[in-house]
Subunit: 179 residues, 2 copies
DNA sequence: ATACATTGAGACATAGATGTTTCAATAGAG
DNA sequence: CTCTATTGAAACATCTATGTCTCAATGTAT
């Protein structure tokens, strides 16, 4: 049975999110394959990390394109982003601060573009009267990514069902934890 | 001039928060000392990481004790925690997921105790009608820590003044980013 | 100025991870 | 069944970080 690179990446993401220094051995084990096979798929650790970054950025691009197109119902600016919150939860730990990613100008530019688009979307939310205007859109974008991260960790630890995560993010993001 | 261990720890925290696998060399450089001196202060990498965890847990304990005592003004349950948000921002990355910390039952128990106390405090907030009751207190505690992390990162990147961070956390936590 | 303590720089062996290669076992296609 | 492709296991050299040590330079107290 030919090993699917995408499945390996999906298995590697939570491992590397918990410990960015996880060994190739540990990553292979979590994917249920041998280190040799992992090496054939991704000859270098850099290759693996960069492939993961590309996947995450692709997923973010998809969600952003979805959100940017969705102009009809005013309140739905964030719906697409919240529905596809996972890649945004992984952005910070696995893309922004990863030297193997930042070292490549190509990936670095994409990462920056994704964040800028997220900020722009938040600005649109502000302009539409959906989001508060007493804070820079940068803060709101970071807040969204942070909330996504929190929700993702809660699901990984089994404290939250993955179906509940989008509602959680929306609720806290729009109304907070106040009564 | 005798090197102060506490100052070294303070310098090491942001470095290790950004990259938990940062080398002793990099940590020493960020603290402005040589690797030899760093080794004299913390003979082992484990020693450094554990000392950092102890410091963070101590700071959390202090803030928690403060918050638990503060029973007079109902709305102020979270004031002490928000005022001392930094250690809570560092809890996840530098304490909870760090093998060198979790390996020591002593530190592991302390870490768990800190989170439980945070959850209990959120429950009190719920009982007082300050926080929403349609979510488990566990989620709210994680939300608080996540917001603290977001605020801390925004300050580290220069996007937010450190004075603004507590207000940001309070505002988002209680009222969200909605208009 | 002298004596002591602390630091910085460097050498050294060791451990762990990585990248490379080989080879036998196994799964699937024909 | 046979052949081919893919996998898993293992050995290997290499590299980096760590931990240990020595020694010269610096700073401080007396």
């Amino acid at each position: 049975m030919r090993t699917d690179a995408t499945e390996v990446l999906d298995a590697a993401i939570p491992v590397l999110a918990k410990d960015r220094g996880a060994s190739m051995q540990a990553i292979a084990a979590s994917a249920g394959i041998s280190r040799a096979t992992l090496t054939r798929l991704f000859p270098t650790r850099q290759n693996l990390v960069q492939a993961m970054a590309v996947k995450i950025l692709d997923d973010c691009d998809r969600a952003l394109a979805h959100a940017e197109k969705d102009t009809s119902p005013i309140e739905q600016v964030l719906t697409a982003m919240v529905a596809d919150y996972r890649p945004f939860a992984q952005l910070w730990n696995l893309v922004y601060v990863e030297p193997d990613v930042l070292g490549v100008p190509d990936a670095s530019d994409r990462a920056e573009a994704v964040f800028r688009r997220t900020v722009t979307l938040m600005q649109r939310g502000q302009d539409l009267g959906l989001l508060r205007k007493d804070m820079p859109a940068t803060w709101l974008a970071s807040t969204f990514c942070g909330l996504a991260e929190t929700a993702w960790e809660l699901t990984l630890e089994g404290h939250m069902g993955s179906r509940q995560a989008p509602d959680f993010i929306t609720a806290i993001l729009l109304h907070g934890a106040g009564a």
